[in-house]
């Protein structure tokens, strides 16, 4: 029982190795079998340890925990693990009918699952570094999996940028080790109490945060995300946008917990970074016409909203809002990406303006897509509404912050009103391939969205240990707010976005070069140094 975390890491890794060694079509079932074993183990582990997470510490080799590697779990990593296993189920089911090259693909996919589960559980900074490196390489390979020119460039771009970020992470680990003599996160956290915020501690914080900002695609270091998620296969895009990007946010939570006693006043700074990310993401999304690019830029903006919540680590309500939004975003963004994948493969184009009549051609997929859209725009009775409301309640008194969230909501509404044009129009003849498993994956995700939107009180109490009773869905004010946002969004779309004026076109064609991205990387280090070291 005690070693279940280790099995959770190695069951998918071993499955991946077996799939690679025995290159047979039947080995695809092994992935599902491993997934089933994983689910059972996770449920067992949850039943055994929920509520008493102080017993979950494992130190490998039985060594002193100052020098050994340890794994530890808490509510946050536990709920992330459930989300991971659920997301992998969906993607595995969705990509199950993929064909001959599937075993190669499954090798990388299953290995990624093991690595991601390990990243969630580790209690050691260098161990964390190793897992993030593995994650970057695996994600780069999965982005470039189609082997087209674009995919290859995007994969390499991501790999190089995240390597630069990870070098900063490594440097920071060296600083931490030299300051505290250990890289065990819990012990470092305790040791921080007596340091009285020295420059070296602040510098290490800055370097960690730069790495996190690249990994979770905050403005201005987001440039890899739209490329990567735009060109990858839809199943992979769903996984990357839904879950793997959240790895960066998870690091943000973990590292800020570690620096809890270091007297660093980060909340406001990261709040504004989050707000900026949300606004910039929406702005770019509005200008795009490629369906997957729209969704990718919305990932950036939703990460901004999550960040607005997470930045208040010491204000429980805001934090819960951000944390729940990670889960809700994972569900509806996976749903939208997978649905978009089905539509794109049927219509053979990614352009929103060229696809017509999806409602008549693919009624099931359309219904699921509409559920995803309602969730992401924050309609009452869907899951996006819950977390957005919690964040809204936290900032409702502070003028400008509230209005920024409102503007982002209007932007999201506008952009999905634009996307919803694909549903209208006459039935079109498309390549009809019956794919029941894809529909099943979409249906499960849509179901999860609706469930979390309506039964949020028992779910959030059981899984995350939060009480969110104060959210009331059925009030008229909520509906009024939502329809106000929709109306403004429609007007905005009709008269500003649809005519495609020059500024919109300019934003659409703006692509950040690699040089600019690196320049901004250095600028961001200096900005963070100014905020956290000199102030």
């Amino acid at each position: 029982m005690h070693f279940i975390p280790v099995y959770l890491i190695f069951v998918p890794v071993l499955a991946a190795l077996f799939i690679y060694v025995f290159k047979s079509r039947h080995m695809n079932w092994l992935a599902l079998a491993a997934q089933a074993v994983l689910t059972v183990l996770l449920v067992l582990y949850y039943r055994e340890f929920s509520g008493q997470y102080e017993n979950t510490l494992i130190v490998f080799g039985g060594w002193n925990d100052r020098i050994g590697i340890s794994l530890v779990n808490d509510e946050i990593s536990m709920s992330f693990m459930f989300l991971t296993v659920f997301s992998w189920w969906m993607v595995l089911i969705y990509t199950f009918e993929q064909g001959k090259t599937n075993h190669n693909f499954l090798f990388f996919l299953m290995f990624l699952e093991g690595v991601f589960l390990a990243l969630l559980q580790t209690n050691d900074l260098f161990n964390m570094f190793v897992f993030i490196e593995l994650l970057s390489i695996l994600v780069a390979v999965l982005i470039a999996f189609k082997k087209t020119g674009d995919a290859f460039r995007a994969g390499l771009y991501y790999l190089v940028i995240s390597k630069a970020a990870m070098m900063m992470f490594l440097l920071s680990i060296i600083l931490v080790y030299n300051s505290f003599g250990t890289i065990n996160i819990l012990l470092v956290r305790e040791a921080m109490q007596s340091t009285d915020s020295l420059t070296v501690v602040r510098l290490s914080y800055v370097l960690f945060m730069v790495a996190v900002m690249v990994k979770s695609a905050f403005v201005p270091l987001y440039s890899w995300l739209p490329r990567a998620h735009g060109v990858a296969e839809s199943g992979i895009s769903a996984l990357l946008s839904g879950l793997v990007v959240k790895g960066g946010l998870y690091l943000f939570i973990r590292l800020n917990q570690m620096y809890e006693y270091a007297n660093l006043n980060y909340a406001d700074f990261f709040y504004w970074i989050g707000a900026l990310t949300a606004v910039v993401g929406v702005m770019f999304a509005l200008s795009q016409k490629d369906m997957k690019q729209i969704l990718a830029y919305h990932t950036i903006s939703q990460i901004g909203i999550v960040m607005m919540g997470l930045s208040k680590l010491h204000d429980p309500d805001m934090f819960i809002g951000g944390f729940l939004h990670i889960f809700n975003h994972a569900l509806f963004k996976s749903l939208l990406f997978l649905g978009a994948g089905v539509i794109i493969s049927a219509y053979r184009t990614k352009k929103v303006t060229d696809i017509r009549g999806v409602m008549r051609t693919m009624p099931f997929v359309s219904v699921f897509m509409i559920i995803g859209m309602l969730s992401i725009t924050g309609a009452p009775f869907f899951n996006g509404f819950i977390s957005k409301s919690i964040i809204k309640y936290g900032i409702v008194d502070s003028g400008i912050r509230y209005w920024i969230l409102f503007v982002v909501n209007i932007g999201t509404a506008t952009s999905f009103i634009k996307m919803s044009q694909i549903f209208f129009g006459p039935k079109t003849m498309t390549i009809r391939i019956r794919k029941p498993l894809k529909n099943f994956a979409l249906m499960s995700l849509a179901f999860a969205c609706v469930m979390l939107g309506n039964f949020y009180i028992p779910i959030s109490e059981g899984f995350f240990g939060f009480r969110v009773q104060y959210i009331d869905i059925g009030t008229w004010a909520n509906f009024f707010d939502y329809f106000l946002a929709l109306t403004i969004g429609y007007v905005f779309y009709r008269f500003v976005i649809a005519p495609d004026p020059v500024p919109v076109r300019y934003i659409r064609e703006h692509k950040m070069t690699f040089q600019q991205a690196n320049y901004l990387f250095v600028v961001m280090i200096v900005v963070l140094l100014t905020v956290f070291v000199w102030w």
């Binding site: 490998f60 039985g62 050994g68 200096v526």
Partner: protein, 230 residues
């Protein structure tokens, strides 16, 4: 131009913060080195403390460091694989372009390098070295083989499969300690009861396996690159 000046100014500022912050280390510098010096040899049986950390105290990290190479190899193979028939592909290393002197010396050096690589692998627990370093040296020796025989054919698929099996074996051997000590990823032979020479068996086995795995992985990588640059 102005952009470059600003960039240099920013880098200098970062450097300045670094130098300032390193002075703080005089106040709070701490390290675990004393622990390793005091207990390292007794607890792990390795005179080389780097190997002690790599193969015992932090074996879990090393497994996934080997995993990074594994994934990098499979990723490169997958990405560089072309659909055209390449059974009779000739490598870019043309016999006529390689100087004779170089080929002759390569023949002379090849066995020495191979022996040196194996020496580094096997003595990883005594002197500086170990599986990762020795494996890289062995791989370099194999690379020289391509200069000696430019027409050499290599079956990458085979290499990669063997590499995966070796990785599986490493994982299994690393976790054997669950049966003897009740915990994962440490020496199979408990240090309380067994002598240093018994513990060494485990270290040498792991070093050899890691060495072969690394050598095979690097071999696969440069074979893929040679085919690519053809």
């Amino acid at each position: 131009m102005i952009k470059h000046v600003i960039l240099i100014a920013m880098l200098l500022a970062i450097y300045a913060v670094f130098t300032v912050s390193l002075q703080d280390l005089e106040q709070i510098y701490q390290t675990s080195a004393d622990y390793f010096r005091e207990f390292g040899v007794d607890q792990t049986g390795s005179n080389n403390l780097v190997t002690a950390i790599l193969l015992d105290y932090r074996l879990f990290d090393s497994l996934f460091e080997a995993g990074i190479l594994l994934i990098a190899v499979s990723g490169i193979i997958w990405i560089s694989k072309h659909d055209i028939e390449e059974k009779n592909a000739r490598f870019m290393l043309d016999k006529f372009k390689t100087p004779d002197l170089f080929v002759t010396f390569s023949r002379l050096v090849y066995p020495l390098m191979l022996a040196f690589g194996f020496y580094i692998i096997i003595n990883g627990h005594v002197s500086p070295g170990g599986g990762f370093q020795g494996g890289a040296i062995v791989a370099t020796a194999i690379l020289i083989l391509y200069y000696i025989d430019a027409d050499k054919e290599t079956n990458i698929g085979m290499i990669v499969t063997v590499e995966k099996f070796l990785y599986l074996t490493i994982l299994i051997i690393a976790s054997l300690s669950i049966f003897t000590r009740g915990t994962f990823f440490t020496n199979v032979f408990p240090y309380e009861t067994s002598s240093t020479s018994t513990q060494v068996i485990y270290l040498v086995t792991l070093n050899i396996l890691i060495g072969f795995k690394v050598a095979l992985g690097l071999w696969a990588i440069f074979t893929a690159f040679l085919k690519e640059g053809r």
